[in-house]
Amino acid sequence: MFEKVQVKILGLVENMRTFTCPHCGENTDIFRRGGGEQMSQELGVPFLGALPLDGDVVDCGDEGRPIVVDQPASVSSKVYATIATALVAQLNGSVTVLKPFTWKWDSNEGAPDWTEGAARPAGSQNTPIGLLRRDPRTLSILWEDGHRDDFDVRDLRLACQCALCIEEMSGRKLLDPKTIRHDVAPQQIVSIGNYAVKFDWNDGHNSGIYSFNNLRALGARAAAGDVENV
């Protein structure tokens, strides 16, 4: 789910790993061992740590005394500290994400950042690090891998994927280019989480959500299109 909406997964924490018997001190892996590490490898995300199955965590939590405060020397507290340290390390190395924006197209008010410095060849292909009104008819998007796409605003209107423009089941296009006015332009562009933008168009249409995945694919089609110097 987080992948779908492009929320970065900083790491994985396994819960209820080992039970230590309060009487004899023997460790038992009630839910077997190694599942957390295996899953983090499958997903390609860092493994931050594994919390034991510890009755003291439950008691402290229910009584409103966090175990890291109440019993800082306990095994559980030490695991929490390890996880927190690993998490901070992940956050320090994490990527630039554009701040949420509401961008008026005509006045360029509230325009998002354009951070060329954040581009790196190994960067993500569907994470924008900049959006720009190149001219009144062109929206540019700079991706984290350093690639730039230029979109004609009417082409963007025509590429709307909403249920009014694309038949939901068959994917058949319902939108006829002839019905879209030639001077159609965004009134405003609003970010949606980390994964998409929404346009309020000056023809009254505003139901389309443009995911960055789709925009990158559209950009590839545009680049392959008919461009010439005249």
Binding site: D152, R181, H182, L218, D226
Partner: protein
């Protein structure tokens, strides 16, 4: 605003990139390395509308040009479906270069408000009435409703909703998502629709009136 760099660049060759639209084969955007006319977009839906724009007149003189839009350093041209781009793109490039060399502004007479494209309130009233008669009221009549024009003044349209619409909780959906969208297609000059209906009037409006405190 003309920038100083526009004057300094005056002797350098002009480059023009022609980018065909992805979804509309009749449309092509020409991106010029020089500002043609600051501000905009200025849309010319027909040859007649381009009177007063030297660049517009030049471009409409080319066979097959259906409408065009000039915005800053960009010209978007839509051709007649039957016309071919072959040769036309080069001719458009040539016309833009000639225009830049001439030193004459691309657009001379600035309409007071470009979006209204010089249509009078009376002309807008006619266009809106036609939309109501041909499309809107026909479909609203299925629900026993009707939209009537009260007046068009300075691009603002006042309407009343009667019959089944008056007092109906869904009337605002009909108005904003139905009528307004259709209206923007035929009369984009209308800036605002004002619903002057008294939805609480009558003996049985859908909006309940609480004469006594609950």
């Amino acid at each position: 605003m003309l920038k100083m760099s526009d004057f300094l660049l005056a002797d350098q060759p002009v480059s023009i990139r022609a980018e065909s639209s992805l979804a509309d084969p009749d449309t092509c955007k020409f991106i010029v390395s020089r500002t043609l006319h600051p501000g905009g977009p200025f849309f010319f839906g027909s040859k007649e509308r381009a009177v007063g724009s030297p660049l517009g007149e030049q471009l409409f003189a080319l066979p097959g040009v259906a409408n065009l839009l000039i915005a800053d350093s960009v010209v978007t041209v839509c051709k007649e479906p039957a016309a071919s781009w072959s040769g036309l793109k080069a001719d458009i490039g040539m016309a833009i270069r000639t225009q830049l060399r001439s030193g004459v502004p691309a657009i001379l007479e600035m309409p007071v408000d470009n979006r209204r494209q010089g249509k009078t309130d009376a002309e807008l009233t006619t266009a809106v009435q036609e939309l109501l008669d041909k499309e809107v009221n026909r479909s609203i009549a299925n629900h026993g409703g009707k939209i009537s024009i009260v007046e068009v003044r300075q691009g603002k349209l006042s309407i009343t909703m009667s019959g089944g619409c008056q007092g109906c909780a869904s009337s605002q959906v009909t108005l904003r998502q139905g009528f307004e969208v259709m209206l923007k297609r035929v009369a984009p000059e209308i800036e605002e629709i004002i619903d002057v209906t008294d939805h609480a009037a009558g003996t049985q409006p859908f909006y309940p009136r609480h004469k006594e405190p609950l």
